[in-house]
């Protein structure tokens, strides 16, 4: 049917009313080019529903956020809008474990609505009021990049590029293509990149110390292969929704699943047993279990003699390992001894293999040995462990944890008697000041029972993919001068945390921490960032000052003093609100990338279902535009190259070349090229193009027949199988699973072995503040989604016990002020019988913007400056400054709080 002829006329000609034609701004030009538009016959709204609803396309995707899920989704698109998502559900199994289906969670399943929410940042913005006032000017990308580029150049020239720090949140580091682009951006420009593995208290330093690698873990299907699973300091039913079914399938398969956590949570609800130690006393429970295993002699003697340093000899006079240097002036310090029962003398432990050959090392005993210092007594590490653990009886632990001694014995005995047994844990343990001791103790328990190595055993945290492709891209054609800095010590210096330590924990402890840290710097063990100014902060990938431990102090001392703050984000939040420039970034369904997730033997694609909303672009493009502007402005302003010294090497940084370097002289045209580059160079990835990946959604990685990451073919790196199966030494100083550390500071702090240390608590603040990942959000992502808020209380809430609430006259639903010496926040009281008296529990991720005073839980955290001295030890075997492996963790737990009923006097909204 023919319809009216269409013409386009300018509105400005419209004053002669009759002459006006069709004036279309948003409609497709095709509409105007059409000769006529058919006349539609409409009688009522039902008519618009007569046409069958069809999809224009179904695109493969996932959510590029750090849920560690990487679940395969089909994303349904019509008319350039994402309408819904659905699980792809095409996973196959590993071995005889159940398959990986279904994967997904309620958050991911409503992203199609969240992406159109009011929190989206759609256009580049420039602040026009005071910082945090909320006054913005929408500007063009060109203007934003030009102005940022000028500041970038000025700061780099005046203070050095290290005065620009780019904090990347988990949104950025989890997407592999984007991460590669980000690292290249940083390597080219020389900016400082605070490393937020340890910087958010997630680095399993205890695992690194013991095993030589912090990234321990198999596929999630390994859980099914276990017969006894301790879920410890983790809550997978909430934080690992797509993975959690393996626990319950293991249970139906006959395994015992024991949840150990102070609060009664969704995981505890489904477990065979729930143990609820007092918050912060987990270490006492592990040690008592070790005590029981040793007392019962239920340890695996053969295993520990071969795999661990427990048979190694230690001098009782100096508490040092017996070394070759004890016998020979030029003897090596990293050659150790065992007592050979066959020959009755100390014999060097093999260094190139774990195989013992004819050696028959003793586990127990004391002997006299002639050394350069004369006759000295030696004993084994195992003897020292025995002596140490003797103090940690279940009865003792009962007093600390509140658990009955019989319960402790029962669990320890069942654990020792059932193989394979595993400890599944998240990153919670790392967040305590003595988190390394917790992991060292857990590993000792696992090792004593022969549970490191076999399928279905081990300490299951999370493995990480081999980074060959990632770094190949980052450094292709340029000097590998990435200036990655420890987030914890960076924050300590920039946030003047010594001052906070003095205020909260007293001068003595503050001094101990600072003295050891400064000594470490003087010794050259760890670097100092003190001389380095921090003038410009770029926060990308949802990196935010809202999460830094002791956020209030850090904000006042570091963040607020920044000359320029740039935020690149898809959604508004605290960081963007306080920025000088905000750049809009594409959301999960608007960009292309790949994800590796070690719990799953698949590579997952994110494909762009729709173009980015508004003027958003992906991170690659945002960085491209910044570098293009830097190069252009440097040329226009005649800026000369600068010399920059990184790790003792001088690098010439020529601003005019930045863009060419970033794109490899135009070879890399976009994020797809980055991804292909990385895919082609990552071990364990089958040959696949980005297009094929986009069509298939998921591609299985090599070496993934078993539930373990033991195969050298696989993209996941684990030395443990090498050591347990192939008898290759561990990458530790002793070449063994190392439980004994004889560095001066370990001796000084009595931490040569796993030992009990009570978490710090603050006088007059009686309640432990514990946090966990939320069911209804992934960090900040989706935390403000109205749909998900409907499933909760609609605003931030803290869980308190009925007893503690009653003592303070607080009723369920009241607003409470939670406070510590570091700061305070206001939230709704959620009275729960699942929470022990003496603790306050909060699911994290609430952005400060969601609180009435714009201070969130990070404000009460006092422990941001607690740098553990033994975590800055260096010059000692495998211990030293090794980012992403060994660095002091940010401490998030060692403090206490109180709360009271809150009655606002006047509506409060502070900066």
């Amino acid at each position: 049917m023919k319809g009216p002829k269409l013409t386009r006329r300018s509105f400005l000609k419209g004053s002669a009313l009759g002459a006006t034609g069709l004036m279309l701004k948003y409609a497709s030009p095709a509409l105007l080019h059409a000769e006529t538009v058919p006349v539609a016959r409409y009688r009522g709204v039902e008519d618009v529903y007569r046409q069958k609803w069809t999809w224009d396309k179904v695109v493969r995707g996932t959510h590029g956020t750090n849920c560690a899920g990487a679940c395969a989704f089909n994303v349904y698109v019509k008319n350039g809008i994402v309408w819904r998502e659905e699980q792809q559900a095409e996973y196959e199994a590993s071995g005889d474990a159940p398959d990986y289906n279904p994967r997904g969670c309620q958050k991911g399943l409503c992203h199609s609505s969240y992406m159109y929410g009011k929190q989206r940042i759609l256009y580049p913005m420039k602040r026009v009021g005071r910082r945090g006032e909320g006054k913005w000017q929408r500007i063009s990308w060109e203007q934003a990049c030009r102005e940022i580029a000028d500041r970038f150049i000025d700061i780099s020239v005046k203070y050095g590029p290290d005065a620009i720090g780019m904090g990347s949140g988990t949104q950025m580091v989890i997407k592999f293509g984007t991460l590669a682009a980000f690292l290249r951006f940083a390597a080219i420009t020389g900016i400082s990149v605070p490393e937020y593995y340890s910087g958010v208290g997630d680095l399993p330093t205890g695992a690194y110390m013991t095993l030589g690698t912090p990234t321990v873990g198999d596929t999630i299907a390994a859980v099914f292969k276990s017969k006894y699973i301790l879920i410890w300091a983790a809550n997978p039913a909430v934080s690992r929704i797509p993975d959690a079914h393996f626990f319950w399938e293991a249970k139906y398969n006959g395994a015992k699943v024991v949840a150990i956590c102070p609060e009664f949570n969704a995981t505890a609800m489904h477990a065979t047993h729930w143990l609820n130690p007092r918050p912060g006393t987990d270490l006492a429970l592990v040690l008592a279990m070790i005590h029981t295993v040793i007392e019962d002699k239920s340890y695996d003697r053969e295993y520990i003699i071969e795999q661990t340093d427990l048979p190694f000899l230690v001098r009782t006079d100096t508490h040092r390992f017996l070394r070759e240097s004890d016998f020979l002036q030029d003897g090596q310090v990293e050659v150790f001894y065992v007592w050979d029962q066959r020959t009755g003398q100390p014999v060097k432990a093999p260094t190139t293999t774990l195989r013992l050959g004819d050696l028959q090392p003793s586990l127990e005993g004391r002997w006299k040995v002639q050394t350069r210092d004369g006759l000295v007594e030696v004993t084994t590490v195992f003897e020292l462990v025995k002596r140490k653990m003797a103090d940690y009886s279940p009865e003792w632990a009962s007093g600390v944890t509140g658990l009955h001694p019989q319960v402790i014995r029962q669990i320890a005995r069942e654990f020792a008697a059932t193989k394979p047994a595993m400890i599944y844990t998240g990153y919670q343990a790392c967040k305590w000041l003595h988190g390394d001791l917790i992991h060292r103790a857990m590993l000792l328990l696992l090792s004593l029972t022969g549970n490191i190595g076999p399928e279905g055993s081990g300490l299951q945290i999370l493995n990480s993919v081999r980074a060959d492709g990632l770094f190949a891209f980052a450094f292709a054609g340029i000097d590998p001068t990435l200036r990655m800095v420890s987030g914890t010590t960076w924050d300590y210096e920039k946030g003047n945390m010594k001052q906070l330590n003095e205020q909260v924990y007293g001068k003595d402890l503050a001094q101990v921490i600072d003295t050891h840290y400064q000594t470490s710097i003087r010794q050259g063990w760890f670097p100092s960032y003190a001389k380095q100014g921090w003038k410009m902060g770029i926060f990308a990938g949802n990196g935010s000052p809202g999460w830094v431990a002791s956020a209030k102090q850090w904000r006042e001392e570091a963040f607020d003093k920044l000359e320029t703050i740039v935020v690149m984000a898809p959604d508004m939040g605290f960081a963007a609100h306080h920025a000088d420039y905000v750049l809009p970034i594409a959301h999960h369904y608007e960009r292309v990338d790949i994800m590796f997730h070690a719990r799953l033997p698949y590579i997952q694609v994110l494909d762009a279902a729709v173009p980015p909303l508004g003027e958003a672009v992906d991170d690659w493009t945002a960085m491209y535009r910044l570098l293009a502007a830097i190069s252009k402005r440097a040329k226009q302003r005649g800026i000369k190259p600068i010399e920059d010294v990184v790790d003792g090497r001088t690098v010439k940084r020529d601003f005019t070349k930045y863009l060419d370097l970033y794109t490899m002289n135009g070879q890399i045209k976009g994020i797809r090229d980055v991804i292909q580059f990385v895919l082609d160079r990552t071990p364990g990835v089958p040959k696949v193009t980005v297009e094929e990946l986009a069509a298939r959604g998921i591609v299985r990685v090599k070496g993934s027949d078993s539930t373990m990451w033991g195969s050298p073919e696989s993209p996941y790196h684990t030395d443990i199988t090498d050591s347990v199966v192939h008898k290759r030494p561990y990458k530790t100083m002793t070449g063994r699973q190392q439980f004994y550390f004889d560095h001066d500071w370990f001796i000084q702090f009595d931490e040569t072995l796993p030992t009990y240390k009570e978490p710090l608590r603050l006088e007059r603040y009686p309640l432990r503040f514990i946090m966990g990942h939320a069911r209804h959000g992934v960090h900040t992502m989706w935390r403000d989604h109205p749909l998900l808020l409907q499933l909760q209380r609609g605003e931030p809430d803290v869980y308190v016990s009925a007893e503690d609430a009653a003592q303070r006259g607080v009723r369920d639903g009241d607003l409470v002020r939670v406070f510590s010496p570091a700061g305070e926040f206001i939230a709704q009281a959620h009275i729960s019988h699942g929470v022990q008296p003496g603790m306050v529990f909060m699911y994290h991720g609430w952005d400060p913007m969601m609180f009435p005073t714009r201070h969130n839980f990070s404000s009460v955290i006092c422990s941001g400056g607690l740098i553990k001295p033994t975590s800055v030890v260096g010059g000692y075997g495998h211990l030293g400054h090794r980012l992403l492996q060994f660095a002091p963790n940010q401490t998030y737990r060692d403090f206490t709080v109180d709360f009271e009923r809150y009655q606002p006097v006047t509506p409060q909204v502070s900066r």
């Binding site: 319809g3 009216p4 002829k5 509105f11 400005l12 419209g14 004053s15 009313l17 009759g18 006006t20 069709l22 004036m23 279309l24 701004k25 948003y26 409609a27 497709s28 030009p29 095709a30 509409l31 538009v37 058919p38 006349v39 539609a40 016959r41 409409y42 009688r43 009522g44 709204v45 039902e46 008519d47 618009v48 529903y49 046409q51 609803w53 019509k78 008319n79 350039g80 809008i81 309408w83 819904r84 609505s113 929410g117 009011k118 929190q119 940042i121 759609l122 256009y123 913005m125 026009v128 909320g134 006054k135 913005w136 929408r138 508004m572 609100h577 905000v582 729709v610 909303l613 749909l787």
Partner: protein, 238 residues
């Protein structure tokens, strides 16, 4: 024949009015040049002509007066304040410029909106497909429908477009639009006095126009077509 001519000219006038308001409610940042941030120079004249010619007693005089007071130095304030009102905010923009933001998540409504566009052959450019519910787009669609109507001669065709206009206005604009003028008058955000006066007047005037236009359509359509819909009979497609 005489009746049709009158219908055509009414539709044309309404079409121009919708086009004008679509332009005035668009983000000034979408304008190609700073000059266009301000209402078109001849807007007061057009508005004046329209208020005299539209088939119902609409009063644009305050808007005309405010628009006449605008000068080129106000352009930047208007741009900035539009962004602060509708495009950015600490907790999202303070006022909703898109239906979805005003009424909350309603995929059914969004589906119907897209179905309306498809039914009448109105297709958005790819860069705007994500925001089919932006006020300015909704008004452009009304402009499109009324323009189409103005080109028609068959009574049945005209009735068809009139009915669609009424239904669309009721179901996709009027059901949320009043949140904007209401929000404007309760605004805690500080914006420049000129923007405050201009935008408040603009959205109040537009609101009055929309209600008058709807009432006129209701009256005009009479009882010949159904005015309410049994929602339960509508089956959504996904």
């Amino acid at each position: 024949m005489g009746n049709e001519r009158q219908t055509n000219s009414e539709a044309k006038l309404r079409s121009i009015t919708y086009a004008l308001f679509s332009q005035l409610t668009a983000s000034p940042y979408e304008a190609a040049s700073a000059v266009l941030v301000l209402p078109p120079a001849d807007m007061p004249t057009v508005l004046d002509e329209l208020q005299q010619a539209l088939p119902y007693p609409v009063d644009f005089s305050t808007l005309i007066e405010v628009a006449q007071r605008l000068s080129s130095t106000d352009a930047e304030s208007l741009r900035q304040d539009y962004a602060s009102l509708f495009e950015v905010g600490s907790d999202g923009p303070p006022l909703p410029i898109r239906a979805e933001l005003a009424r909350g998540r309603s995929p059914e409504r969004k589906e119907e909106l897209v179905r309306f566009y498809e039914f009448f052959g109105y297709k958005l450019q790819p860069s705007w497909q994500w925001a089919p519910d932006h006020l300015s787009v909704l008004l452009e669609f009304m402009h499109f429908l009324t323009y189409q109507e103005s080109q028609l001669s068959e009574a049945d065709d005209i009735a068809s477009y009139r009915t669609a206009q009424r239904d669309f206005l009721e179901r996709h604009i009027l059901d949320w639009y009043d949140q904007i003028p209401r929000g404007m008058s309760n605004l805690t955000l500080e914006i420049s006095p000129i923007s405050s006066t201009y935008y408040q007047t603009l959205f109040e005037t537009l609101g009055k126009f929309l209600h008058l236009d709807f009432a006129w359509q209701q009256k005009n359509l009479g009882g010949s077509l159904r005015s309410s819909v049994d929602e339960s009979s509508l089956i959504t497609g996904y």
